[in-house]
């Protein structure tokens, strides 16, 4: 097992593109750290630098405290699972799995024993003599995993290993990878653009955008306390509702009433315990802020309590386990410069509601807001005020 550290790691390509910028990350012994971010954000480049497949422009990558910037990939003692699986098409499943051991001059008996053990764990025993082209996508994925685990490396690096599978198989393989990693206890860096994969697999999740690390935290922490607007918008499906708003002092001037957040015709009082826990609120009184509300923190007022706002309902979507209600907020939704198109919600917010809700399209619904869970962001820096 190993600890992997990246200190101020930067990667610039010859054409001047900065793929990764001053990345600081530490992966603990036996930890599964997920790098997540949109396509082209630099997560795969970061992984490839750890593997030694890309040179580091500046900064240091260490494995178990030893800098490996100039160490060849084969001497880093890491195994990598690729997006395309990268199985050797001319070799059988057995030979694919035994490949690295053969070239490391392991004893034949040991190779047989390790491959047999990996095949047993991954339920590949009936396929050992087949060629990769004779296997299904899921089986190929397992062989790729098997090839990595027979080596018993210090760390696994996985580059979107599930992205070529269909949705159902992906869920199954995701669970298998999680179980396998936990049982082997091997330090793992896992790259994905799929936030569900990231949240379900990761001990911790590192969100990257534009080559810059946005936040690294445990999945729940990441979801509940996003460090900035990017993380708030990226993590969660449907994404967090982001609305341009103002923080004002409640009641008349000079009053002692706590701050309220104002957006369009709506005013919501912020619970005193939230204000007390975050003194930074004072600085933003009278200022513009970006308000964030997770869809599950908006409820049908007829079912759940809390401060109420009234919204004309534009759309009701039945999803079985929940109902998603799209309501017009009567003011502009926040659109940041780097927001993806799917975040441009055109003055509409989405609520995930109890399926018993009777709220219908066209009516003005009373929506209860869980104000203790509101998020607030600085519109200029994008950083959370609550951080």
């Amino acid at each position: 097992m190993a600890q992997i550290e990246l200190e101020s790691v930067t990667k610039e390509f010859p054409d001047g593109t900065t793929a990764v910028s001053s990345l600081d990350l530490a992966v603990g012994d036996g930890e599964l750290l997920v790098l997540v971010g949109p396509s082209g954000c630099g997560k795969t480049t970061a992984l490839r630098m750890v593997a030694g497949l890309e040179d580091v422009t500046s900064g240091t990558i260490s494995i178990d405290g030893r800098p490996v910037n100039d160490v060849e990939p084969r001497h880093r003692d890491i195994a990598m699972v690729f997006q395309s699986y990268a199985l050797y098409p001319h070799l059988s499943v057995y030979d694919n799995m035994a490949f690295s051991l053969k070239y490391r001059r392991a004893a034949k008996a040991e190779i047989r024993q390790r491959v047999a053990e990996a095949a047993r764990i991954l339920e590949l025993e009936p396929y050992l003599q087949r060629k990769p082209r004779q296997l299904s996508g899921g089986q190929r994925q397992r062989v790729a995993m098997g090839r990595a685990i027979v080596r018993q490396p210090r760390a696994f690096l996985m580059d979107e290993p599930l992205s070529n599978l269909d949705a159902k198989l992906r869920v199954q393989m995701r669970a298998e990878i999680a179980q396998l990693q936990r049982s082997l206890g091997t330090t793992t860096i896992y790259v994905t653009h799929d936030q569900t994969e990231a949240m379900t697999l990761g001990t911790r999740v590192a969100v990257i955008s534009g080559g810059v690390l946005q936040q690294v935290a445990a999945p729940q922490e990441l979801y509940r306390r996003p460090a900035n607007l990017f993380v708030a918008g990226f993590i969660g499906s449907p994404p967090m509702n982001l609305i341009d708003a103002r923080l004002e002092r409640g009641g008349a001037a000079g009053d002692d009433a706590g701050p309220v957040v104002v957006f369009g015709p709506h005013r919501l009082a912020i619970p005193p315990e939230v204000v007390a826990a975050h003194p930074a609120f004072e600085r933003y009184l009278g200022e513009a802020i970006v308000l964030g509300i997770r869809p599950e923190h908006l409820h049908d007022a007829a079912i759940a309590g809390g401060p109420v706002i009234k919204l004309p309902v534009r759309l009701r979507e039945e999803l079985g386990s929940e109902v998603q209600v799209h309501g017009a907020i009567g003011t502009a939704a926040h659109v940041s410069a780097d927001a993806a198109d799917d975040l441009r919600s055109l003055a509409t917010i989405v609520a995930r509601m109890d399926p018993r809700t009777k709220i219908a399209e066209g009516e003005t619904a009373e929506i209860a807001v869980d104000t203790a869970e509101l998020q607030f962001f600085d519109p200029a820096s994008g950083d959370s005020i609550l951080a």
Binding site: F82, Y88, H90, Y103
Partner: protein
Amino acid sequence: MAAIRQSGRNSRLNKKMAIWALFTLMVIIAVVMLYPFWYIIDNAFRSAGQFDRQAGHSLIGWKELFANLPVAAQLLNSTLVCAASIAIILIVSTTAGFAFAKLRYRGSGMVFLLVVSALMVPLQSIIFPEIVNLGNVHLTSSYAGAVLVYAALGTPFATFLMATYYRGISDELIEAAVIDGLGYERTFLQIAIPLSLPAIATVTVLQFIQIWDDLLVALFFLPTNQRTITAGLATLATGRTTSIPPLMAGSLISAIPAIVVYLIFQRHLVKGLTLGMGK
């Protein structure tokens, strides 16, 4: 309903007619392609008189061929020159193709362009500089000189083909091998070469046919006692009159190795020629 049935019948009829038209065209093309072979075989088994009358068959043409030409020695010469040239072409083109396709280094695109641009230089334009250069290092009038010229002429196309083929092999496959513990050298030998057998077969067949059938280089660079079969056959037609039957017999013998090589590599050749056309 009847109209739909009628339309279905018309569509089937049109399809059948199209297939027959295509079949007829293919037969015509096959006849045009195969007729020269038939002409060679038919006239190889005649005497000069029988050839003039186009009647009767005999082995006189073969006797004349073996009396006038050291056929076995020249076949051996052709084989040696072909084998050595193709070996050099394969060694250079596989390694260079792999480097161009999979190794990133400054200026590789420019070097590749330079190599490929050599494809556009006709042999006739460089034959005299070649003679002078090889003469300076005493390599004219020897197998070595001809082999080097053939290798130099064949390598650009072979490199282009191999580089194209290697580009089709996923980078991740090469990287997986590198991470598995192989350096780039062993990755090339253990992974790239086995995967590129169709391209290697294609290069082998195309170069074999080209070198085996070449006359110009063989005449300029090989001494009389080391002539290839193609150059040897050309000498049969240098007199004031040419006896066609021995020439046909020699052409038949000369064509057999090319056909055998083609048949051996045929399956791979088709794969190699269609490389890059999709999944």
